[in-house]
């Protein structure tokens, strides 16, 4: 127990210290993975369908705001579709534009979650996203999560049926567009999974924000239940094919990643809960205080044996700098506590 808390403290300190490097690395990896997936599944635009271009865009997106990452990826998807066929590109392009507008208006800070959802769903662990966003995000996280699911199924449908779509209604553009629109919007699997993911995110968020003991753990378990029952119920009610193996892998990954997020982000000790009541001139306060499980990481002290003698001036300067650093450190700690 103690070693896990020490490990957690080291990881959190490492992240706080090197956040300015780690965040761009994460954005680079996410953008690169998304671009490679686009190239593998679509890849109709030859000029961007290579690893050098993917590395270039990933490098740029690593240092620019996440709005740019989402825009770049959506733009490349649309460009690939236009390169394949202009009629096929119209409906997905309008749909992606609509989803981007909705997310950008109401939840701009989590645009990258839609991209993350598409990437993780391609490697069968997409079910972790609604659980993680329910724990770390807000109620508005349902927008990027739902958008990610829709974009995944649209791209999946087009990549698997591109040749069929191309040959259907070859002489009539209007009929082809109508066919594609119907196929996309009447995809019951997409509807079932979108509703499941949105419900899971909402339920995890609401339970996590409640005053229950062990709320985070209950939220994760509730989320997993929704992810299990939702697709199975959808399969029974609307006759949708659900891959049981993918469902199992998704749920296991959601469970593992959910508890990992819980471990690193929340350390409430429910065995020492205190309930206090007090009042001031305007309000009565009913407070539930949950203490944190905390263990300070052991500081390594280096003792030099054969140090040279310092002059009085050097000693005074050294002490003043040390005092100055200590004051700043205390002030930063107080600020982050608040």
């Amino acid at each position: 127990m103690e070693s896990s808390l020490i490990f957690k403290t080291y990881v959190n300190d490492f992240y706080a210290k090197y956040k300015f490097i780690l965040v761009p690395i994460f954005k680079f990896i996410l953008t690169f993975a998304a671009l490679m997936l686009i190239n593998m599944n679509l890849g109709y635009f030859e000029k961007v369908n290579n690893i050098i271009v993917a590395l270039f865009f990933a490098f740029i997106c690593a240092f620019l705001p996440q709005d740019f990452m989402a825009l770049t990826l959506y733009g490349l998807v649309i460009v690939n579709l236009i390169a394949f066929s202009k009629e096929i590109a119209i409906v997905p392009a309008l749909l992606i534009l609509l989803l981007w507008l909705v997310c950008a208006r109401f939840n701009r800070k989590e645009l990258y979650v839609a991209v993350l959802t598409v990437v993780l769903m391609n490697i069968k662990i997409g079910m972790a996203v609604p659980v993680i966003m329910g724990l770390l995000g807000s109620s508005l996280s349902i927008l990027p999560v739902g958008s990610g699911v829709i974009i995944y199924y649209v791209l999946n449908y087009i990549s698997k049926n591109a040749t069929t779509i191309q040959n259907v209604h070859d002489d009539s553009m209007i009929e082809k567009i109508g066919y594609i629109a119907n196929q996309i919007f009447e995809n019951k699997t997409m509807l079932v999974m979108m509703i499941t993911f949105v419900l899971c995110t909402l339920i995890v968020y609401l339970i996590r924000k409640s005053f229950l003991d062990n709320a985070w753990t209950i939220a994760i378990v509730a989320g997993i239940l929704v992810l299990l029952i939702g697709p199975l119920l959808g399969g029974v009610l609307v006759n949708v094919d659900i891959d049981i193996v993918s469902l199992a892998i998704g749920n296991i990954s959601a469970l593992i990643l959910g508890f990992a997020v819980l471990f690193f982000n929340y350390s409430g000790d429910y065995s020492r809960v205190e309930h206090v009541e007090f009042e001031d001139d305007n309000y009565y306060y009913y407070v539930k205080a949950v203490s944190k499980k905390k263990l300070a990481a052991p500081d390594k002290k280096v003792k030099t044996i054969n140090s040279r003698e310092k002059s009085a001036g050097e000693i005074a300067d050294f002490d003043e700098n040390k005092e100055y650093e200590e004051i700043i450190r205390q002030a930063m700690d107080e600020h982050y506590k608040n």
Binding site: I90, V91, L94, L95, L97, L98, L101, V102, R105, F106, L140, I174, E175, I177, G178, A181, N182, F185, E320, E323, Y324, I327, I328, Q330, A331, M332, E334, H335, N338
Partner: protein, 131 residues
């Protein structure tokens, strides 16, 4: 001699100013609450026009065949009324959500800004006391 309290105050203020959320909060607090919410609701109105237009276009693309086969005055009239009612419903929902989000953001920004102002006041008082 270093005044520890002044350094503490200045570091707290600098941490708010340099932080991305702190900068946004200070910018938000330059507006009055009503103006900030109103501005967001205007943006939402513009957004709702574009978003509803795109959604309507997608619906039209889906049902194009049916519309061309059954094109007559009653379809136009009924469809037009339905579109207008749906748009107002969509707009009302979007504006309610925007009002809630903007109110919460303003409240959060006010909290951070008041912390900043307290530090500033304490610092100003310490300088006055010194004089």
């Amino acid at each position: 001699m270093i005044n520890k309290n002044k350094v503490r105050l200045m570091v707290s203020m600098e941490a708010i100013e340099q932080n991305k959320e702190g900068k946004e909060s200070l910018a938000v607090c330059e507006y009055r609450r009503r103006d900030y919410i109103g501005l967001n609701m205007i943006f939402t109105f513009i957004f709702s026009v574009f978003a509803f237009g795109i959604a309507l276009l997608l619906f039209f693309l889906c049902k194009m065949e049916y519309i061309f086969d059954n094109f007559d005055i009653s379809l136009i009239t009924g469809g037009g009324i339905a579109v207008i009612m749906l748009y107002f419903l969509f707009l009302i929902v979007c504006e309610i959500v925007t009002y809630k989000i903007a109110s919460d953001r303003y409240q959060e920004a006010t909290r951070m800004s008041s912390r900043y102002q307290k530090c500033l006041k304490k610092l100003a008082d310490s300088y006055k006391a010194k004089e």
